[in-house]
Chain length 421, copies 2
Amino acid sequence: MALVVQKYGGSSVQDADRIKKVAERIVRTRKEGHDVVVVVSAMGDTTDELTDLAEQISPAPPAREMDMLLTAGERISNALVAMAIHALGAEARSFTGSQAGMLTTSKHGDARIVQVNPGRLRSALDEGSIVLVAGFQGMSEDSKDITTLGRGGSDTTAVALAAALEADVCEIYTDVDGIFSADPRIVPDAQHLDTVTYEEMLEMAASGAKVLHLRAVEYARRYNVPLRVRSSYNDKPGTLVAGSIEEIPLENPILTGVAHDRSEAKITVTGVPDTPGMAARIFRTVADAEINIDMVLQNISHESVGTTDITFTLPRADGPRAVAALEGAKNDIGFDEVVYDPEVGKVSLVGAGMRNHPGVTATFCEALSSAGVNIETMNTSEIRISVICRADQLDGAVRALHDAFDLGGDEEAVVYAGTGR
Amino acid sequence: MALVVQKYGGSSVQDADRIKKVAERIVRTRKEGHDVVVVVSAMGDTTDELTDLAEQISPAPPAREMDMLLTAGERISNALVAMAIHALGAEARSFTGSQAGMLTTSKHGDARIVQVNPGRLRSALDEGSIVLVAGFQGMSEDSKDITTLGRGGSDTTAVALAAALEADVCEIYTDVDGIFSADPRIVPDAQHLDTVTYEEMLEMAASGAKVLHLRAVEYARRYNVPLRVRSSYNDKPGTLVAGSIEEIPLENPILTGVAHDRSEAKITVTGVPDTPGMAARIFRTVADAEINIDMVLQNISHESVGTTDITFTLPRADGPRAVAALEGAKNDIGFDEVVYDPEVGKVSLVGAGMRNHPGVTATFCEALSSAGVNIETMNTSEIRISVICRADQLDGAVRALHDAFDLGGDEEAVVYAGTGR
């Protein structure tokens, strides 16, 4: 008998029929003799609808009240799933994040989990009940106010509960069959991966793969929670995310797959005085606007004039704000101008042992060159090589790399229905 | 500076515009220098919609999960009102029933308030904030589960908070201008009452007047909380419910008004063995089905055969269940049959000092007789005379009594827009 944590996203519970299907799967798992804990997101578009309602009321609603409002969504879906389970003859009880002992920081809208005290859940499981926990929420340790966890919140809730309850597995249900060596919508012969290590999954997620949130994978890796990414539409086993890259003998590079990301933009700050501290001031300006920077490139200095250009990438959604923040600091720092370029894409090869095998990097660059893709920026780690290219060249770049490294499989991959949340 | 508790029902907050209007009134009250605590029901038809959703999932959802589900409604409306207040430049914080220290029994769907610990609300008020509290809900003392309070729950929440915080007044906002000597839709010259005592209001509420729930009035009377019933559409002062009937010198009967009730049915159990304990068994049978009985009449014994008939009234919604329960007990108790009559109405004259003034009862009966209304059952208390008559004679009975006791005023009453919740 195992303890299984399952997470279902908004599209899996978007109406009464889908809720009943999810309940059937949950009860099936319980009947196999396992303890089952389920995390459910809000139904369908509920969170967006509540956000709209708030915007009709106020242009800048207080974050504390947004959290009170939005958490109603998960409360509703979890109670309904519990009812559906009960209608199938099994015991089920739903709990809010706060009732489940999910303690967080106080940052409304983007709280971090500080501690999980699952005592009440444990008692319910011992009484034979299936346990439902509202995802995406918790309670602030300090103020005792309800908080929401920000992006990837529901996946993270599921992993955190799995860690606290020492679950045997945490299953993340989505609408794809698992993790592939590339996006099957771009690469028809992308291969399904049976297993990936935490580090590979981290790099895939950081490089654009949308199936699992980076944050949830990091939490799973820290607490060694086995994750399984599965489809809620069938019974295929999906992909197991577990184990560490260090456990794999690295005689040859092991390539996991090719990830891509269309959500970034590129900023170049030109004519930055080439003196110590200037780069730091540029990054501090962006950081103060609470914007994360991804790849950084400091271009060749223009020695003759004592300046340099600094290029970096960031989420496109934050682009305008970053530009505004930098323009505001122009006189202080003394650079020439801010050049904003949203038409970029990022493509990454993920695997193990990249740096030790220069042949990989060479093959990488040759493949892109042959495909007519110009490398604008490159960035590497132990298990990833990423480049920035023109957005309209991204698909070709993904296919070129996937072929060059022979990642294709014999079976035609199942086309994505879309990604879960 | 006073502490004011205000309660707004579902129609007052049914959409973004109404919510903003309510927020304006709340902020106006705060700007007069008062501490303000507001109880808000769920928006419009939310509770019904959530109940429908539950019915699509399961025919008999567990009560614990219904409470988790339904309480989402008040959470949403309170957060939105807090946002609207904030958009007007004032501070506001919303709290769930549990956060507000509302401890209850464990009976899901119909919990009773056991204790109110308003410490967190008090702190928020001291910090200058307007406080919003979700009505209709609390937390079970024993199980720590979320509970809903059943009928009249939001009014009762407001009164309970007013009592615990020692508020100066508890204002119940509805869509009528206050309490009248009769329903103005039936009696055009019904008078607006400036003040009524708790006991008179209790009788009015028990006799069918829908503006305030009996339960909330009882709570207010026990803790001496002044209630004000006002319209959310204008600034009229409404009706103050306060004081006790004992404080009023009773030289002459003081008549408050005429109430009517269309929601009852009549049951007659015929041929009940006229031996001690039989009536008790009949009432126990009905009580075990968790049905409340209103008026009771034990008809004349049929001495020759040693049996009697027992007649009582009850909520029509419970009629079929009561009949079923009694039919099930027929052989045990040994009566002849159960006769069910849903076509009844109840009309009541409410005031003080009825019993001491037999002239009142006589005038009462004469007025009904002249109006061609047949009295089927009569029941009196110190401050109320009620009769059961045919439902289709009810309006005529109300008008006849109102005229006979000269309760009409000079001004045309404002026609009810409908009653608040």
